[in-house]
Structure formats: structure tokens, C-alpha cells
């Protein structure tokens, strides 16, 4: 017969060798290794103040015949501490979900039971397939002033614990953050950034249950955020950006009437439009371009060429020149 034996960390454990008498000659082994006789009292195995590393298979063999007389799996663990329970509605008015976890591991299997009561009515919390420590409930009533009471009980072989949450329908409403946040410069506007986003896809009916939004933005070089609250629409133009500075932007959402703000969205970065650097030549620049023959580089006379993507590094200069004038200069210098 194989058994499982659960014991608390720090406990003293006594294992009997099945039905063998106390004075029978036996040998105890764990995970294929003999256990020293000093841990035996007669045929009993004594383990003092067990720790987690002592979990494993323990076997007892009759002294002379080496017949296996008893086997047990020792699982050292802890009774559960008070579980952490959270309930939230990110899909109002459809329903809400509750999720839970233990603050510290028990190292042995735990079983969770959740009960949800609304007034006198018991409701079923349907377990999610993933993640496993979560279940969801559909609202049967809306606009109720009666509170919901959710009790989570966790049980294992060494004990049990529970926690209860009581809340009303609106207190737990918290949308997911807005999605697809995009920030773009506005052409010819060095102080503007156009930001747009979408309602979180988990919010089922934004038309009947509209969301409002909170936008925050700052240049990377500063710590202070600017904030704007927007009661409708899913776009906004920032008009006071510092020219040429890269910005970080985030958006949060909240139901117009109830609940709390979502977490901040994923941050996006954008830099306002900057004017192209004008006609700019240096001797160094002219020297760099001598290797190209003038015949192989003949832009149309009226074209302005500007290497917009040029990285400004030490010594390099972004070039933007009117073709006719510079070619004439080349002709003078290098023919």
C-alpha cells in the first residue's frame, strides 16, 4: 500500500512500519538511501523538526528478508495563510471576475472554494480554464444597491483559511487600459502632437456605457507630467509640446459615471515636427563630397536636397543645399 502523509514544517514525525511490531528489525530508506538507525526508535522512524527538503518517499523493509513492509510519501508543507482575493469588473455591465492567490506557498496541494452571495441569492462563479485561480460571474441585476459578498476558502491537508470581500456593483468597475495608442507629429506644427487611441476591447458597449479618458504626457527630459481629462472622443491634440523634444504619452480610461480609473496604457513616444535645417555648407562638407564626380550627381536645378534622416553626430552635419548654387561652387573648386 502506498500512502501520502502531510506534515507541517517544524513538526516531529513518527512513522510506523505498517503493522510491524515496535521491536521488529527493520530498515528505513528514503529515495533509495538508507536512513541511519539513530533516527529509529525500535521499528519507528522519528524525524524531528522536519523541513521541506525531507519531503520524499519513505520505505520500510523487514530486517532479514528485505520485504517491503510499508511505503509512504512524506509531503512537508504549511497550512494556508489568508488568501488574497480581488474582484473587478472590466466588462461592465456584463459581469465581474474574482481572482486569488496565496501570499506564501504551502508546498502541498491546495483546494479553493468560492461563494458569491447577492442579498439572499447565491450566485455561481464559473471557473476560468485559464488562469486557474479565477472565476467570473454574470450580473443578473443592474443598478442594485445590495452589496455582493464573496468568500474564498482555501483548504489543504494541514489547515484552512478564508477571506471575504463585500462590495457594491459599481465599486469594482475598472476598465482595462485604452488600446492602440498612437502619437504622431503634426506637419508644420513644432509644438503639437496628435494622440489617438481605442476603447479597450474588453469593454462591451462603449456606446451605452461611454468611457472618459485621462491623458498624461511629458518630455523625456522632465519628470513632471501634464494631464488632460477628456470626457469624450478617442483623440486629442497636444498643443504645448516643447519643440524638438521627445515625449512619452499614456492614456487611462474610466466609465463616465462609476468605478475607478484603469491602469495606464502602454507608453508611446513621439517628437513634434521640426523644420528642416536650411541651406548649410561647411568646408568639411565640401571636402567629403569631392570623391563623387559632378556628372554623376546632377540633381534638377530647383530641387532642395536634405538628408532628413541624417544622424547628428560629432563632426557630421546634415546637409541641405540648393543644387544650382553648390554645383557652381564645386565647379570652381575642383575642375
Amino acid at each position: 500500500d502506498s500512502h501520502v502523509q502531510y506534515e507541517r514544517v517544524g513538526a516531529d514525525v513518527t512513522m510506523k512500519c505498517g503493522s510491524m511490531d515496535w521491536d521488529a528489525a527493520v530498515t528505513w530508506m528514503t529515495n533509495g538511501t538508507d536512513i541511519d538507525e539513530s533516527h529509529q526508535n525500535g521499528s519507528y522512524l522519528i524525524l524531528k523538526k522536519v523541513n521541506l527538503t525531507q519531503s520524499g518517499q519513505y520505505s520500510c523493509y523487514e530486517g532479514s528478508s528485505w520485504h517491503l513492509k510499508y511505503q509512504t510519501s512524506l509531503r512537508v508543507g504549511m497550512p494556508p495563510k489568508e488568501p488574497v482575493l480581488m474582484c473587478r469588473s472590466n466588462n461592465y455591465p456584463k459581469g465581474f471576475y474574482c481572482s486569488w492567490h496565496l501570499p506564501t506557498p504551502t508546498y502541498i496541494p491546495n483546494f479553493f472554494n468560492i461563494s458569491v452571495v447577492h442579498g439572499t441569492r447565491e450566485m455561481v462563479c464559473e471557473k476560468d480554464t485559464f488562469p486557474k485561480n479565477r472565476c467570473h460571474i454574470r450580473y443578473l441585476q443592474l443598478f442594485s444597491t445590495v452589496k455582493y459578498k464573496v468568500t474564498l476558502t482555501v483548504t489543504n491537508a494541514l489547515g484552512k483559511n478564508s477571506t471575504t470581500l463585500t462590495f457594491d456593483e459599481v465599486a469594482i468597475v475598472k476598465p482595462d487600459p485604452p488600446e492602440s495608442v498612437v502619437a504622431k507629429p503634426v506637419p508644420n506644427n513644432p509644438r503639437r502632437l496628435e494622440v489617438s487611441w481605442q476603447n479597450p476591447s474588453s469593454w462591451p458597449d462603449p456606446e451605452s456605457f461611454p468611457l472618459k479618458f485621462f491623458l498624461r504626457y511629458r518630455p523625456l527630459i522632465l519628470d513632471q507630467w501634464q494631464h488632460v481629462e477628456l470626457s469624450d472622443g478617442t483623440s486629442h491634440t497636444i498643443t504645448d509640446a516643447y519643440a524638438g523634444k521627445e515625449y512619452i504619452i499614456q492614456v487611462a480610461a474610466k466609465d463616465n459615471d462609476i468605478g475607478t480609473w484603469s491602469d495606464w496604457s502602454v507608453a508611446v513616444h513621439a517628437t513634434p515636427w521640426t523644420e528642416e535645417p536650411k541651406h548649410l555648407t561647411t568646408e568639411a562638407q565640401i571636402t567629403e563630397t569631392t570623391s563623387a564626380s559632378t556628372s554623376s550627381f546632377m540633381p534638377p536645378p530647383t530641387t532642395k536636397i536634405c538628408d532628413k534622416g541624417a544622424v547628428l553626430g560629432s563632426g557630421a552635419v546634415a546637409v541641405c543645399w540648393t543644387a544650382g548654387l553648390v554645383l557652381a561652387a564645386y565647379g570652381v573648386l575642383f575642375i
Binding site: 443592474l142 443598478f143 444597491t145 445590495v146 451605452s208 456605457f209
Partner: protein, 195 residues
């Protein structure tokens, strides 16, 4: 119901709904402020649980999303007419109980009563637009006497205001449903006729 579906009627409905939503929002905000004042002045615990109060229209509803526009309007109107009576009663009791000692609470109650009356009238307008007409009010006699002690009356008042705050949220949602272009209140006449 052809008139209710005309473009001008649709625009008028949408306009009334928008204004109604704003009214409901303001009313809710004022009721929440009133709740704080009421709890403080009446010496109550803000987290006190109040059992279902008889005679107070409960905002809670099942299958809310399946209601027709007319049903929404009728339920809202019945509720606000009842709140009008309940608030008038509370105002009277408050004056008897505290007299001039708490004119602030009295003024706040009166202000909310005014908004409730205005909102009820607004709902009547919407019903008229639906060519339904507002149902006549049940006899507007004196409210039935409540044989409650002082503390029970205070708790009842708390229940009234909490439920009213919830109704204000529901009303805004109801009006948004009503304002949706695909759902005219002329569709699917409710079988729930006026009381």
C-alpha cells in the same frame, strides 16, 4: 407611431435625451453631496446597511438591456414621481425635527426635490414625444403615514437617498439607450402599461 419616427421627432428625442443625461448627472452629483450631509447631520454611519425599504422604488432591474424604450421611460417616470413624494415627506419631517437648526440640510433636500420634479417633467416630455403621453399620476393625496420612530425614519431617509442616487445612474444609461439611432422607443411597445 409614424410621428414618433419622423426625422424631427428623432432629433427632438436625441436632444431631450442629451439634456436628460446631463440633468441626471447633475442630480446624481447633488444627491451624493446630500447623502454626505444627511449622514453627518442625522448622526448616521455612512456604511450602515439599510434593508430594502418598503415603498422606495428599487433601481435594480433584471434583463435591463432587453427593455424597450417605452418601458424604460415608464419605469423611470413612476420612480421619480414616487421620489418626489418621498423627498417632500422627508423635507417635512426634517423641518419638524430640526426646524431652523439645520436650514442647510433643508435647502439641500429642497434643491434635490426640485431636480427630481424637473426630471419627472422631462420624462413626461419624452413620453409625449413617443405619442404615448404620460400616465396620469395616482391620486396625489397625502403620503401614507409611517409609524416609524425617529431612528427608523432617519434610516429610511438614507435608503431613499441611496436608491435615488442609483436611479440617477440608471436614468442616464436608460436615456443613452433611448438616444441610440437604432432603438426608437416606438419599437417593441412594452406590455407594462402605466399603473
Amino acid at each position: 407611431m409614424a410621428a414618433a419616427d419622423s426625422p424631427s421627432a428623432t432629433l427632438r428625442r436625441r436632444d431631450l435625451c442629451s439634456r436628460g443625461i446631463r440633468l441626471a448627472g447633475k442630480m446624481r452629483s447633488d444627491v451624493i453631496d446630500l447623502l454626505d450631509t444627511y449622514v453627518e447631520r442625522q448622526g448616521l454611519d455612512a456604511s450602515a446597511s439599510v434593508a430594502v425599504v418598503e415603498g422606495v422604488p428599487a433601481a435594480a432591474v433584471e434583463h435591463w438591456d432587453e427593455q424597450s424604450g417605452t418601458q424604460r421611460l415608464l419605469e423611470n417616470l413612476a420612480a421619480y414621481r414616487t421620489f418626489r413624494t418621498l423627498l417632500a415627506q422627508m423635507l417635512e419631517e426634517q423641518r419638524e425635527q430640526l426646524g431652523e437648526a439645520d436650514a442647510g440640510l433643508g435647502r439641500a433636500l429642497a434643491a434635490v426635490l426640485l431636480q427630481v420634479s424637473a426630471f419627472a417633467y422631462h420624462l413626461e416630455e419624452l413620453l409625449r414625444l413617443e405619442s404615448r403621453g404620460a400616465p396620469s399620476e395616482e391620486e396625489a393625496g397625502p403620503p401614507q403615514p409611517l409609524h416609524l420612530g425617529l431612528f427608523e425614519r432617519k434610516l429610511r431617509g438614507l435608503g431613499v437617498l441611496r436608491e435615488l442616487a442609483q436611479w440617477a445612474v440608471r436614468s442616464a444609461r436608460d436615456l443613452r439607450q433611448l438616444a441610440k439611432p437604432s432603438l426608437g422607443s416606438s419599437s417593441a411597445l412594452s406590455t407594462a402599461e402605466s399603473p
